[in-house]
Symmetry: C2
DNA sequence: ATTATATACTAAAACGTTTTCGGTGTCAAG
DNA sequence: CTTGACACCGAAAACGTTTTAGTATATAAT
């Protein structure tokens, strides 16, 4: 077994309390003994047992992160970046990150309930919020510390970080309009998801602002943000009697599918057809043509999520309770040049 | 605070020991009291505190998984699938999975040392092995339970799951040869990585078996498996005075880059040029043309890794100490049809 | 000389479990 | 009536820490 505080105490003929205090920089221990204790600790290769510390302090020093296989959580191409930045930030604050799946057959709040009630974690990061989110409702009701990546349409006040999908898409669509497009399609995701709805709203407001009509034919909604679904949605748009000249796509993965659909019909994307995606996944810069898209700053998001959660857990005041980040528009070739004949 | 065993004991005028035993199905507790205890537990909404359980049992019930930002660990497109299947399997065995980054500035074994010595985890899953891997050496030396995804060239006996990259690539290259190709290129990764070296060997043995010469010009090695690197490597091959007619690429992401390089030169992949990737990432089926590739069965890999580690931790005999899975060749269009004029 | 104060240490409780051991009480066998 | 067996329950220790309260000694103030 690894050495304990008791071993150090016996070695130096001290009590465990003195050793503990020496290791934790208490004032009431002689500088000389402090020295001796620390040397002995090094000698024995001692590390404190975190389990015992957690039991005594009643804090786990662990952040919970529940992922879903079905949803766009773990299968999202940006998931890796989010996880990496959260791990980084958590380590920085000396916290662990416990990732947990949601066992199929149990409700979503149940996964959170289990983790908090059994004392596995101190709080949660929840991502991929719905407009009406049962997890958020549960966590608010039970007053469990958490920070969400995403907002909801419920009337609940909770700390979150989010990307302004509405403003982002609005800007992107405006860009298309400025390029001379009049018929602009939209490929979106089911609107129970907050961000899906948010992005759609950005599309609608951009059109309305420019006195362009909203045509339901031009807006297609798919179930999940896969390449395949983007392909199919694009096919549907291109088969319209009066197809769009530009399409705003809610995710890069779908945009890649849309790209393929257009190319199979011998449309030169960036010329015959403008396309804009959302996410700026690493591949986006390398499609043919490179994809114009809205970048989600995942590194910053992950870091702010855990910074905020740590504040909450340590009862420090939160600098900002609601953080909304603007996704910059990364203009590449898929959105094309200015059109002469609209 | 959440209720403890003590609360139940007080409510029923019992001792904590009897309550504990009632909850854990001990034989020496009357059926009737057992009943009463379980009802009270339900009434109070009691869940056992895992921290206390862990301290008492000296087992954490937690599997450790260390990821690196730099390496091909977390940035790998298959990482998500691996993580998902490990989470699933871990939950099935009632284990937690603690994911930890490797703080920059510390050595790789140090990350493992910290987790095990502080009692955060019972054992590890390590992935992305090198031919000479300091982490594996450390874990073996310290006799810390772990299972690796990947082998090494060190003379160490440890349990692992791996994909037979050599046999897989050999089969793929043989497929190209059977299609009539004589000049076959190879785009690989740095050979300190075991699997990179393994795949290259598959390429070499396939050529040798067919009495084809090994030309160093045709083998290019890049630093990381990105789209960009695949693109550059392909450009290099195509600029050869006598370029290959087929190329085996060590990862799908690079293959996508290679695809782009070929297309920019107006080569019809699957016709003028054959291309085979490795991984079968979700996008592989949706490139243009769809990518022939070797599938890594991540779901099975993740599950077997944790099944094996759990066996180790519970002192159960390991059904197989070394599992080697054959990556099936998924033939799509990028490898093309049989060539008439070789 | 007495009291106050500071210094350096220890004992003991606590965190919430599990588990060993011993102690009842009941009942049947001798 | 004694003995043992059995069924049921509780006391207590243990896991490795932290922290509170307290003790002993030395030093300073009165």
């Amino acid at each position: 077994m690894s050495p304990t505080i008791k071993d150090i105490a016996q070695l130096l003929h001290l009590s465990v309390s003195t050793v503990s205090k020496a290791l934790n920089e208490y004032p009431d221990v002689a500088p000389e003994t402090k020295q001796r204790v620390q040397e002995a600790a090094r000698l024995l290769d001692y590390s404190p047992n975190v389990i015992a510390q957690r039991l005594q302090s009643r804090r786990t020093g662990t952040l919970g992160f529940v992922v879903y296989y079905g949803g766009n959580s773990i299968s999202d191409p940006l998931f890796n970046e989010l996880l990496a930045s959260m791990l980084d930030a958590a380590a920085h604050h000396q916290y662990d990150l416990l990732v947990s799946g949601c066992p199929s057959g149990t409700s979503r709040p149940a996964a959170y309930e289990r983790m908090i009630k059994t004392g596995r974690v101190d709080g949660f990061i929840v991502d991929g919020t719905d407009r009406h989110d049962d997890r958020i409702a549960y966590l608010c009701r039970e007053e469990i510390p958490f920070v969400a990546f995403g907002r909801t349409d419920q009337n609940l006040d909770f700390p979150y970080v989010d990307v302004d999908g509405r403003a982002g898409v609005c800007q992107a669509v405006q860009h298309l309009i400025d390029l001379g497009h009049q018929r602009i399609g939209f490929i979106g995701l089911p609107s129970f998801s907050f961000c899906a709805h948010d992005r759609r709203q950005g599309y609608e407001t951009a059109l309305q602002t420019n006195d362009l009509p909203l045509e339901s034919d031009l807006m297609v909604e798919v179930e999940a943000g896969s390449e395949e679904n983007g392909y199919r949605a694009m096919v549907q748009l291109l088969e319209l009697s009066h197809p769009p000249t530009a399409v705003m796509v809610s995710s890069d993965l779908m945009a890649i599918g849309a790209l393929r659909a257009a190319q199979e019909r011998n449309l030169a994307v960036g010329h015959d057809l403008a396309l804009i995606g959302f996410d700026d996944i690493s591949l986006a810069a390398y499609t043919h043509p490179p994809l114009t898209t809205l970048r989600q700053p995942m590194a910053e998001i992950g870091q702010r999520l855990v910074d905020m959660l740590v504040c909450l857990l340590e009862n420090k005041p939160l600098p900002e309770r609601h953080v909304i980040l603007l996704p910059p528009l990364i203009v590449r070739q898929s959105s094309g040049e200015r059109r002469d004949n609209p």
